[in-house]
Subunit: 103 residues, 4 copies
């Protein structure tokens, strides 16, 4: 189980608004199997059973803006993988929240 | 109005679990004025009226693990600032969701 | 042609020194074909003919610390790809330096 | 002693070429005191005596493209700070190279 955060930034778009590109990428993610994902205001967080699966999804997401006349894309990816216990989007947040309650 | 994502990683902790450090940082954020924040599974997203305010909060967050016998901290920050319209955590997500509905 | 920067951070290593892990990863890179790479003080920059190649190398690099009793790895990747002209590590720096000379 | 990597990406520039913005930022860095810096193909690495100094330089760098009619800037910052020994750009690379020779 691994968790990835990804943010895809098209460069050289006339407008500073990027939401239509993000929407196009989310349309792709909706059809992708064997992943969970969550849109945040700074990127998309994706959970899958392996790093290989996550990076394969990342490569497809990164390619999408090129099909819409974009000439350059800068993509930032953060991978978090742990072998000693299950790592999930939900579990990571819960683990912090439990420690907050104890204080 | 600017939005920042920040992730603080203590290095050389005996355990691979970092949630107690994240909880310590969130305790600090709770008392900080003039910001909004949201914990995600990959970092913390913070909104404030200026980049200077955000980076001043970032410097304080980055310093917290050093007070708990940590010797090295790697912090990743992403700043998003826009001058032509208001940029908020909520507005950024809404803007994408509106485009998704239209499709 | 695409360029990637990658930084691999093992978590829960008792020591704050990570250079032996970085050295292990560079030993792997030396044997990898069809790439160019450069070690910097903040990561490794790699150039290859496609994003797929770069991400396949990234997956292998990310897996290396797990073979040395590390239980958690956080990897940050930045991909820069451009379709309207060749993008190389050398060309990107040269392009900035030419603009600096003109000023 | 702390080391920072920073990458400043103006959004909505009609052209996918960003080198003139990077050159403008480097012109600023040249005049800045009490720092060392190095341009790489994926960002700029800066060394200073404190995180506060580094983030103050980062805030000024992030603001520069707004003065050239750019409406949105996305800046990525990675801070590496260590309290148990001196951390420098040169020392970090040397430490890895020494381990490579031993193998």
């Amino acid at each position: 189980m691994a968790v990835m955060e990804i943010s895809i930034v098209p460069i050289g778009t006339k407008s500073p608004s990027l939401s239509r590109y993000v929407a196009g990428i989310l349309n792709f993610l909706e059809k992708e199997k064997d992943i969970k994902y969550q849109l945040t205001s700074m990127g998309t967080i994706i959970e899958a059973t392996s790093t290989e699966k996550l990076l394969s999804v990342a490569a497809k997401m990164h390619a999408i803006p090129f099909s819409e006349e974009v000439k350059r894309v800068v993509t930032t990816i953060k991978l978090d993988e742990r072998k000693d216990k299950e790592l999930t989007m939900e579990g990571k947040v819960k683990s912090v929240e439990e420690k907050l309650k104890k204080n």
